[in-house]
């Protein structure tokens, strides 16, 4: 074999990093192969628990290492975020894997290690120690994904193409960021007391790409200082400060900039002095970062405040803008910036992405409902569960129709008015998935790393929800097919996978339940596999009919007892 690709990933982020095609290109560039038409190199993915308890078995990945060692060139892809795993144990695991791989190879082998946010593998890290001290260290190249230069062993010259291929581009970063952008439904209080918003946007807690995105934007705009509003959400201030740190740019709030003494500033005295000194210089440039620009009125106030002290160059970086803020004719690729007038001054507003942010009229049914039930939400507060008004808005969007399909074995009539969760969008699925995760965490009092989610894998079911849980919410997911559920026969893989996660809490997930049948069948599969029932079952929607036994450990985001069944003879269908 010329080359093989071995991907190592935590359970909770199996799809993170470069796609298979890109890894093939990197491998091809590494071996200097020009012919893209050749058959692809062999590739394998090996997963490990994101939150291992104690040590991980010493022999883990033995088969994969033996397999990889047969190739001359090994691409060891570790391109995932270490922020999503319990680092100490995982550092050791990765270092041990590389060491055993080097031990298993000869002096003619070459190993290219692709690293994500490990970036520069430091010598004090476990992995760095192996790279620096192993007797075959001259056979190793480290290739970061952030665009910094690969570090290759002496005698192994990597082409520029390898670094370029390994780099995660701005567009790719943006796409990944948007995939994990949470859009909550509900009725949210706008900054103006008489305005209500339909959505609230915020990056998912595991979405750690924003600081890198902002850093790249700052690198492009090259300001002397970066500002944000003091009342901005924490996710924004965290990302801005991290990005400023990466780019070594002074950062502070608008209030810091305009405050007249250090005692009123939130910054350390020396940072505040530096920021103030920039104001004194006419040719300094500043970037104001805001979370979302909609009408521009809040932005206008911030710009006016900055302009009281800073007369130099100023531009805005909005993480998100409403479509109306930066309208474009259909089919035109967004330029990621627009010019807006604030107080008679034209200012360039850069943005990461456009989103829909709808204002709700005060007589809109959602606002009436939210105000009557006290469900108007404050965007600055953390949240635990979705408001019923948000869920009703979801049902309206996804549609309400006859329940379909109804399991044949149940021999019952379908429910006439059934929210079609199987049709919800990827954005809604991400939100519903996050709601279910939060429900499970709250019910079990457990960290998300300690949960393993078991869900039915059905092409006709809520595919979007399954996709969100599997690929975008960074949780450990195991699936069982409908055939396995109906046969009720334990699946060896489920036994193995659950067995590996002995200390984890098992949570069964489904988008809806009517007779609890699927949940109880999965209960049986879990008990067959690990000799105990799941710790919890969570569903988005519980619509019970009849008097079926209900699992005591079931929790639902929303529930009611349906009334009308669809009558096949009445022509309703």
């Amino acid at each position: 074999m010329d080359a093989v690709i071995l991907r190592i990933r935590p359970d909770s982020a199996k799809s993170a990093g470069h796609r298979a095609e890109r890894l093939q290109e990197i491998a091809r560039a590494l071996v200097g192969e020009q012919d893209a038409g050749r058959r692809p190199f062999e590739a394998q993915t090996a997963a490990f628990p994101a939150a291992p308890r104690g040590h991980i078995t010493a022999g883990i990945f033995a088969a994969e290492i033996e397999w990889a060692a047969k190739a001359d060139t090994i691409v060891l892809d570790l391109g995932f975020s270490m922020r999503r795993v319990r680092r100490g144990v995982i550092d050791k695991l990765l270092a041990d894997t590389l060491k055993r791989l080097l031990d298993a190879t000869t002096d003619t082998h070459r190993i290219a290690v692709i690293v994500g946010d490990l970036k520069v593998v430091k010598s004090q890290d476990d992995l760095g120690r192996v790279v620096d001290t192993h007797h075959r260290r001259d056979r190793v190249a480290v290739i970061p994904t952030d665009g910094t230069s690969p570090r290759s062993a002496s005698g192994w010259t990597l082409s520029d193409e390898v670094g370029e291929l390994a780099e995660v581009t701005l567009d790719e970063l943006r796409a990944s960021f948007m995939q994990r952008l949470l859009r909550r439904r509900g009725v949210f209080q706008s900054t103006r007391h008489d305005e209500y918003l339909r959505f609230h946007y915020a990056p998912h807690p595991s979405n750690d790409l924003l600081s890198e995105l902002v850093a790249r934007k700052l690198s492009e705009l090259a300001p002397d200082a970066v500002l944000y509003d003091g009342s901005a959400p924490e996710w924004l201030s965290t990302a801005v400060l991290a990005a400023a740190n990466i780019e070594t740019i002074t950062a502070g709030t608008v209030g810091d900039l305009t405050s007249k003494s250090t005692s009123k500033a939130t910054l350390e005295a020396d940072v505040w002095e530096r920021l103030r000194s920039l104001v004194m210089t006419a040719d300094t440039s500043m970037v104001l970062v805001v979370p979302l620009a909609k009408s521009g009125s809040a932005l206008s106030a911030s710009v006016a405040q900055i302009r009281t002290v800073h007369k130099g160059s100023l531009c805005v970086l909005a993480i998100l803008v409403d479509y109306h803020f930066a309208p474009l004719p259909k089919g035109v690729a967004p330029p990621q910036s627009t010019i807006k007038e604030f107080g008679g001054e034209r200012i360039e507003v850069h943005y990461i992405e456009r989103v829909h942010q709808t204002l709700l009229a005060s007589d809109h049914w959602q606002v009436l409902a939210a105000r009557a039930g006290n469900f108007v939400e404050d965007m600055s507060l953390d949240w635990l569960s979705p408001s019923p008004v948000g869920l009703w808005s979801l049902y309206r969007e996804a549609g309400v129709d006859i329940e379909s399909p109804v399991p044949k074995s149940s021999k019952r009539l379908p429910i006439r008015w059934f929210p079609q969760l199987s049709k919800m969008s990827d954005e809604d699925a991400l939100w519903v998935g996050e709601c279910l995760i939060r429900l499970a965490k709250a019910e079990l009092g457990a960290a998300v790393e300690d949960l393993v989610f078991v869900l039915p894998d059905e092409p006709s079911g809520a595919e979007a929800l399954a996709r969100a849980l599997k690929d975008r919410l960074d949780v450990t997911v195991l699936t069982v097919t409908r055939e396995e559920i109906d046969r009720g026969v334990g699946n060896e893989d489920l036994s193995l996978q659950l067995g590996r996660r002995g200390g984890n809490r098992i949570v069964v997930v489904d988008e809806s339940t009517v007779t609890y049948s699927t949940l109880l069948k999965i209960d049986r599969l879990v008990r067959d596999a690990v000799n105990r029932s799941p710790d919890l079952a969570v569903v988005a929607l519980e619509l019970p009919i009849g008097d079926h036994p209900r699992p005591s450990y079931l929790r639902a985001l929303h529930a009611w007892r349906p009334i009308v069944m669809a009558d096949p003879t009445s022509g309703v269908q």
């Binding site: 019923p388 309400v400 009334i563």
Partner: protein
Amino acid sequence: MSSIASNRELQALVAALPAVPEDGSIRAAMLEALLSRLETESPATAQVCATVLASHGDKIAHEVAETLQLRLKPFEGLQPRAAPLDEVDLIVVAVKPPELDACLAVFGVPPDERPRVLGVSGMCGWFAELSSTRILITMAGSAGNVQAAMVMAALRREVRAPVAVLVGMAAGLEGKVEIGDVVVAEHVLEYEFARLTEDGPEYQPRISDVEERLLRSVEIVDRLDPDWTGEARNVVQHASRREEHAPAESDLAGWSPRVHRGVIVAGAKLIEDGSLPKLQHDLHDRIRAAEMEGAGFAVACDEAGVAWMVIRGIADFGNPNRVKGWQFAATVAAALVLRTLITAGLVTPRQP
């Protein structure tokens, strides 16, 4: 969903429905959610709403309301049984009408409140709530251990509850208890099992044990609620029930019931011959009271995995000259002991 959250959503749905676009099927789902919540919270209100909507609503509302009416119809006549109400936290079982009246009075059920039919058990029940504990109060109707066991088995098919308490009156052991006192059973003895020999019967009683944790605080009811004896007098004086030979005002004024832990014997015999002291001598030193249902009740509860208690007010001493005037008052005292324990959070489901 908690009751508070459910009420908030109910208010939200009521406010939203008139403004939801009529062409959307979302409206039908919201209407179903509204009516089904009402059905849970207040079946009578749900029925009124369904009736109004069925005659005045649009097509969708008409269909939903009419179907809901069908769901409620089998229970017309008395208030309908709402499906989710078949789950309560505690069942109180009385045996005879004076005992039932006492329980209803103590748990604040208005005298004119009509009961709900409990499925096909032939029984009716009143639902009350006390310190977030949902309580069903019902009456067996017939005396006897077998009858009590059958009633519990039938109730279990209609209502799920983790705890059941038999509350009523009993004959007390003179000298150890006073008329109007309360005995909380620590064991119930089904005493009539016996081998009949030439030398007389050899009693072989069967014992049912109450879980100790339910008993630990019964003797400090005075400390849990220092006013409970005054409350007992108050309930009896203001009750609508009037009995022959009811205790005189002067008797009530001096009535200060005490709570005893002890053994209660339960058999098919109504003791009116003064034989209770002999039973104590022959069977168990801690016998304090005798009645006719506790043993069957206990066995049925144990069989169903339900935690149970038997609490009896002392109405007489089982003597030939016994009178019935204290049956209601004694049961009021017994029910008040239970109420005090519930309020203190001490009557809880069986531990795993």
